[in-house]
Amino acid sequence: MKNLPTLKLSSLWARLKTPLVVFVLLVIWELCVRAFKIKEYILPSPIVALQHLFLPQPDANYSWIVHIRITLNELVISFLVTSVLGILIAIGLAWNSTIKKIIMPAFVFLNSLPIVAIAPLLVLWFGYGLKTNILIAFLVSFFPVVINTTVGLFEIEDDLLDLVKYLHGTKLQIFLKLRLPNSLPYIFTGLKISSTMCVVGVIVGEFVASDKGLGYIIINSQYTMDSPPIFAGLMLVSLFGVALFGIVSALERLCMPWQFRGRNEN
């Protein structure tokens, strides 16, 4: 009975320590800007940046909420496309080793291209707008899901395959009952990495292929050397990144209860 309150306190601490660290960093940032009198266009203080977000700015010709919704929409669609396509591609690669030998080098090549640099080319080919933006985000972020899922589908103890083989199970059964569940941890690792890269991809896409969204605000404010909205935009973007990562992690727990059964978070 007696250690109940301490238990609660410690779990409260576990939940709050990350936000607290962020808050402390923001305070340090604010204090530094004030102490060293840094000019606003070089580094605005977080309060100034947040003011841009929450208080109406008379000279701003954009509405945050509209652009936030656009970016969020793009992010969700891009990440869904990346996840589904990425996993499907990996399954294709794992299904047939000839396919893998032919296509894998192409993917490695594609991934080593600086997508940011070829993004303008993509705009030229596919035009301005959502589709091109999603394509750019996909190209930036698909690789980790594909690689991790492929590895996961192969990394299975050979002896486990005997369980299905001695009863003359099919290749499909081996895939569905052994390889796929076995690869879940790998898939989620891939999705987590891809989720953060997808945020980058969406913003890069907005830089070049869009006249809407947070990426557009950031690049546009850069032209006018208006730093506070850049920082406000960056704060939002990183918030979305963290949120997406959190959603994937929550999904991971949901899909793999055996991994987390009986373990306390800390």
Partner: protein, 255 residues
């Protein structure tokens, strides 16, 4: 148990040579024996002599190099009516215990719903009542091996291949499970081919003990164990029990 009926399974001059990187390794020299329906046959032999290899060949997991494995396809479908207890538990860590037990049902595309009760029953039989919804990671090694025994029985196979199933257990659990296994065997009328290192275990369980030599292995002895059934722990102190064990021990030393 052997009553002159025709064998469930006949091995004739089964040989196995592994070729890895140009070097040949003769695992099974020449193995010939029959297993009759409802018979409990144990195989003993030195480590590395090819016991696991032999079971895997019978189960179709490894190709044999030469020889024959003969079954009467009319009464025994060796592709579906075999249960295999591997040397390691090999549970799927993402499946609950009950779902692990039901894996063969899914692979054989039988009606899972109808078999759930049977799976529960088998778990109770191996002493794991109440553990249905646990994950393998939450069980001890011995409990995992017992799950794998329930799994090997769930599709009601005619032939049970067991590869040192109790090798990793402590003596007390092992002897308890020996008695359990004999009970299951008697109740279900299965044919069992049981690989073990334990000479006493082999004598205690079997109708017949087959002794294999070191690599390349051949059968050096096939010993009928004519101890009365049902067997309880007391059998172990009968003089005949010791005589059988000694005979197996001696042939292992020679081979």
């Amino acid at each position: 148990m052997r009553d002159g009926s025709k064998p469930l399974l006949s091995l004739k001059n089964v040989k196995k040579t592994f070729t890895t990187g140009g070097t040949e390794l003769k695992a099974l020299g020449d193995v010939t024996f029959d297993v009759c329906p409802k018979e409990f046959v144990s195989i003993v032999g030195p480590s590395g002599c090819g016991k696991t290899t032999l079971l895997k060949i019978i189960a179709g997991l490894l190709p044999k190099s030469s020889g024959e494995i003969i079954v009467d396809k009319k009464d025994f479908d060796i592709t579906r009516e075999v249960g295999f207890v591997f040397q390691k538990p090999l549970l799927l860590h993402w499946r609950k215990v009950i779902d692990n037990v039901l894996l063969p049902i899914e692979i054989l595309k039988k009606d899972r719903k109808a078999m759930e009760e049977r799976a529960q029953y088998l778990l109770a039989l191996v002493g794991l009542e109440g553990f249905e919804d646990r994950y393998p990671g939450e069980l001890s090694g011995g409990m995992q091996q017992r799950v794998s025994i329930a799994r090997a029985l769930v599709h009601d196979p005619k032939l049970l291949l067991m590869d040192e199933p109790f090798g990793a257990l402590d003596a007390i659990t092992r002897e308890r499970l020996n008695i359990e296994l004999l009970r299951i065997w008697q109740e279900t009328g299965k044919t069992i081919l049981f690989v073990t290192h334990g000479i006493n275990e082999a004598v205690f369980l079997s109708d017949r003990v087959i002794v294999l030599s070191a690599r390349p292995s051949r059968m050096i002895e096939s010993l009928d164990i004519k101890l009365p059934r049902p067997r309880q722990q007391e059998v172990r102190v009968q003089p005949e029990f010791g005589a059988y064990a000694l005979e197996i021990y001696k042939s292992l030393e020679i081979g």
